[in-house]
């Protein structure tokens, strides 16, 4: 398999017949699970992930009393592939969770100041949990798509309502609090590229990732700013860095349209 990938790349072909700059088929289904406040399932080819979003009432960090808290964690489930194991998160799982977290956080996709109940005392804590049920590569792009799809379509407990009923907060069941849309301000898109034999391909599958000389994720905001970069392994020539950035920018626009279409969501106004 791996040798085939390399042989075909030299002939300008990919193992599954795609062009170098083609994504696999993307299917995004928001609200696939009813229990949490938001959820989505993403199929990126055979990569299958589910994202769920929960809210809790918590105490803000002392250095940001006027901001809610965002926590993103991901796990590759033992169902995901032959080699995947249950247990504490591996180095790779921690890395991808942190890249997904940065893609969401740094784009300012959620206005965390709108998650404040009482400044310095009580805020909403937002948990974005994603799981990989089947890993056919490019988990990060799928997870960011899922997280943003869930954010765009989900609702959160109204912080203003909680503030108005702050005396009863200890008895309050968060699930019964009236809900408002999650304050989404951007639609960040992560695009992952693999460098194989000095050629860039987008959306690498599992085998392509395993033979890649370098693997990099670049996340763009809806205003075409770069908001996260991660070189996972290998190295790039100086010029290749900018080639990757340009490919990523172009692909991000295309993928963002797919996301907005499939979630029937509008691009948030303003942004930035």
């Amino acid at each position: 398999m791996a040798n085939n990938v390399l042989k075909l790349i030299k002939e300008n072909k990919r193992i599954d017949g795609r062009g170098f700059l083609d994504y696999r088929n993307i299917v995004i289904e928001p609200n696939v699970i009813e229990k949490p406040y938001a959820s989505a399932r993403v199929m990126l080819g055979d990569t299958f992930i589910i994202v769920g979003i929960h809210f809790e009432i918590g105490t803000p960090f002392s250095d940001s009393p006027d901001k809610g808290i965002l926590i993103t964690e991901g796990e590759v489930l033992p169902t995901a592939s032959f080699g995947a194991e249950a247990g504490p998160p591996s180095e790779e799982e921690i890395e991808i969770s942190r890249v997904v977290d940065r893609s969401i956080r740094e784009s300012g996709v959620v206005d965390l100041s709108e998650l404040v109940i009482v400044p310095g005392e009580k805020v909403l804590k937002m948990f974005i949990d994603f799981n990989i049920f089947n890993d056919d590569g490019n988990i990060v792009d799928a997870a960011v798509l899922g997280a943003v799809a869930a954010l765009l379509t989900g609702k959160m407990p109204d912080p203003k309502y909680i503030a108005e009923h702050i005396d009863e907060v200890d008895k309050m069941n968060l699930k019964d609090v009236p809900r408002v849309p999650i304050p989404v301000r951007d639609v960040p898109i992560a695009t992952t590229l693999a460098l194989i034999k000095d050629k860039f391909i987008v959306d690498p599958n599992y085998v392509e990732e395993s033979v890649a000389d370098a693997l990099i994720t670049i996340t763009h905001t809806m205003n075409d700013e770069i908001c996260a970069v991660q070189l996972y392994h290998g190295g790039l020539g100086y010029e290749q860095v900018f080639e990757a950035l340009n490919i990523s920018l172009n692909k991000s626009k295309e993928i963002r349209n797919i996301l907005l279409n499939q979630t029937k969501a509008e691009l948030p106004s303003g942004g930035g």
Binding site: R98, T221, D224, C227, A228, V229, V241, L245
Partner: protein, 250 residues
């Protein structure tokens, strides 16, 4: 670019008074730990990072052995007293991620297939952290690996750039990291012209990214000179030793 000299441009002051394209003072010393096979320390502003290299040595456990190359282990670790709020000595998710990307950066330079079935350990201890520790760690680790005599294709040298108050800045300090708009740590192999660590946090346009990248490259080249100077010093002190031995023999 921020190199025009009109009055407005001069208003921009960094928290520590530096110019936008100015590094903090830095100093690298090699061969500072007696027990290690190779070692180095770097001071970059208030950062103080100490690196030890052990190996190449027999790898345990046996089942992990690689038949065709040495295994590189790398641990980036912040000491509890390295920050103003105590840092738990337990490895955080951040430290686990950084250990991995630092290992990748060093791996690109090391000729590991010279040592099948062996392993090389790189221990990075951050004694004091003041922004840009990951890139300073790589710069020191590369010197420690050279000090250990491990064959390398090139040195690896790291430097950061970022965006603070609307300006692209070199060598991101602690306050700039916390309050700035973006952070771009890179590591390169300066002679092979390859980027081996590339991360970014925050928001930058493509033009700003290019400016920051070029600035970080310039900073890295300054640190590269310092790496060479540190290694040269060790070579010189070793040759004085040899001369001493010779003159005794005579």
């Amino acid at each position: 670019m921020s190199d025009n000299n009109d009055g407005e441009e001069r208003v921009f002051v960094r928290p520590d008074g530096r110019k936008a394209d100015e590094m903090r003072p830095f100093k690298i010393r090699a061969h500072i730990l007696r027990n290690a096979d190779g070692s180095a320390e770097i001071r970059l502003g208030g950062n103080w990072i100490i690196v030890a290299v052990y190996g190449p040595k027999e790898h345990f456990p046996k089942f992990e052995i690689s038949q065709d190359r040495a295994i590189l282990n790398c641990r980036y670790h912040m000491n509890p007293y390295s920050t103003s709020e105590r840092k738990s000595p337990k490895p955080s998710r951040r430290e686990i991620e950084l250990s991995k990307v630092i290992r990748n950066a060093l791996e690109q330079a090391l000729i590991l297939d010279d040592f099948p079935e062996m392993s090389i350990d790189v221990f990075i201890e951050v004694a004091q952290a003041e922004g840009s520790t990951r890139v300073a760690s790589i710069t020191a680790a590369s010197v420690a690996l050279a000090d250990a005599g491990i064959p390398m294709r090139d040195m690896v040298v790291g430097c950061s750039a970022g965006k603070y108050n609307g300006h692209i800045i070199l060598d991101v300090g602690e306050i700039e990291d916390k309050e700035g708009e973006a952070d771009l740590p890179i590591a390169i192999m300066p002679n092979l012209r390859k980027v081996v660590l590339l991360q970014m946090d925050g928001k930058m346009t493509h033009e700003e990214f290019k400016e920051a990248f070029d600035l970080a490259l310039k900073g890295a080249m300054q640190l590269y000179e310092e790496q060479l100077a540190a290694l040269k010093k060790i070579l010189e002190s070793m040759s004085t030793l040899e001369e001493g031995v010779k003159s005794e023999e005579e």
